[in-house]
Amino acid sequence: MLTDITLGQYYPGDSFLHKLDPRTKIVATLIFICSIFLASTYVAYGVLFLSVLLAVGLSRLPAKLVARSVKPLWVIVVLTFVIHAFSTPGAALFEWKFISITDAGVQQGVLMSLRLVFLIVVSSLLTYTTSPIVLTDGIESLLNPLRRFGVPAHELAMMMTIALRFIPTLLEETDRIMKAQVARGADFSSGHLLKRAKNLLPLLVPLFISAFRRADELAVAMEARCYRGGENRTRLHQLAYAPRDGVALGGVLALTLALAWMRWSGL
């Protein structure tokens, strides 16, 4: 049923990537993504491919899981390939009326789709190995310096944390109300669009009522404990860098420099 949906896609584990500080992972992922766009030659793509493989290996995630992350976006990957294959000028491999596929097009298409696949895999490694709450902590900590310019880092992070915290609760609630109404003969899955929307009322009304009730209760509970925003707030789990964070960041930077060097030396 509905509660079978896992929150985000965090896959608990104990690997090198899992243990990295979330800030390191966010920054490293951003740098890695930028460096993907530096690659232009086969050699560079080879290096990239090996590094992605290394990262996947370090995460110790099941290969199937990583492959699954590409699944929702395969349409875009295929579309990218097709558009490049048809629209790049070059020697024609295949011609029919006004349509032609060129050798340069196929080459470009493969490389571009690969780029996309790398992008998806690397960013899903971040969400697979970092629980949403830790990720939020990392984002807050990274945004903190921007507070001077009026970015409400703590408030944003708190909002994200609360939202994340209540997703499973609301899913559970939805599941329960849905079951209760189904037990009373409600039908959520048949009929035309308008009828189906109307059929959702017995689900949505109680859900909204309960969401407002919960929000109200939470607000009162926070106020009762004198919550007043991020000023001078300490936390239970302090983020701390470890040597492995240096290793990871160094590795990603070295990769980026290598790719930059390959690009300008034309290797």
């Binding site: 896992t6 409600a186 109680p206 309960s210």
Partner: protein, 288 residues
């Protein structure tokens, strides 16, 4: 006519790291006209088990038969028979949605495709049954009622479907004693006058001992004991404690009295019968 479970197991989220087996290999039969209490600790699988009884969950393995029809079959009969099992969830007042109490209670009967006159009659009957005056309440908003009254509206919404089997999951949770007693009195009345089968999930032993004529004790997704309340409470205490079930105070009292050498039959579970026993003993002693 019965609800029959054949080696039913259910696993939540199979094939993920969060996989959890909620109930395993449960076989039992609930006859029509029984009043069954299912007791057990939080997380013992009670709620998962009862959701199988009207096809909200289908077993990962095994079968659930209601009046000999398999609920997992995707036939109109299976759908129809599932509706003969009414289900009152925990905190049922959270499912109220309509603008008036009438509309909310009528939701179930309307889904049964009854004509409006029949729907109206059933709503009246159901509201009367849970002690809500039709003339006074029918056109009020359910959201302006007290907690106990809201729960009655929700229970009326299930009763209005006139189920042959009624499953109640912790119907008294979070109510004050007066509201709790009122709700149980209504359930018992329903059981006696309509002859429906009642399946009551609770962790209140006193309630279970007082109302039910059969008791299932669940622990770790299995039915550990099955019998009359007297028998269950007289059975192995170790087993009961392992299941996280406390013995009713009455049983403890009788135990304590017997330890003091006062001879009271072991199977005394109600206050009335205990008083009778003690009075009888006194009379005997005075006669000597």
């Amino acid at each position: 006519m019965s609800i029959k479970l054949e080696a039913v197991s259910y696993t939540y989220m199979p094939g993920t790291p969060y996989e959890k087996r909620a109930i395993s290999d449960i076989s039992l039969e609930i006859e029509k006209g029984e009043f069954v209490a299912i007791i057990g600790h939080t997380g013992s699988g009670k709620s998962t088990l009862v959701q199988h009884l009207n096809g909200l969950l289908h077993p990962t393995s095994g079968r659930v038969l209601v009046d000999d029809i398999d609920l997992a079959a995707k036939t109109p009969e299976a759908k129809k028979i599932a509706r003969s099992v009414g289900m009152v969830f925990q905190y049922p007042e959270h499912q109220l949605f309509a603008e008036t109490i009438y509309e909310d209670v009528a939701f179930g009967p309307r889904n049964l495709k009854l004509d409006e006159a029949e729907v109206r009659q059933r709503v009246e009957l159901a509201m009367e049954f849970v002690g809500l005056d039709y003339g006074k309440f029918a056109h009020r908003s359910p959201f302006h009622l007290s907690g106990g009254q809201m729960r009655r509206v929700a229970i009326a919404g299930v009763i209005a479907m006139q189920p042959d089997y009624l499953v109640l999951d912790e119907p008294s949770a979070g109510l004050d004693p007066a509201a709790r007693n009122a709700i149980f009195a209504e359930i018992v009345q329903l059981y006696r006058t309509r002859g429906i089968t009642v399946i009551l999930v609770t962790h209140n032993m006193e309630e279970a001992a007082r109302l039910a004529d059969r008791m299932l004790v669940m622990a770790k997704g299995e039915v550990r004991m099955d019998g009359k309340p007297k028998e269950v409470f007289r059975a192995d205490r170790e087993l009961l404690h392992a299941a996280g079930v406390d013995v009713p105070r009455m049983v403890e009292l009788v135990d304590a009295l017997r330890l003091k050498g006062i001879d009271i039959p072991e199977d005394t579970v109600s206050v009335d019968s205990l008083v009778r026993e003690i009075l009888a003993r006194q009379r005997r002693e005075n006669a000597c």
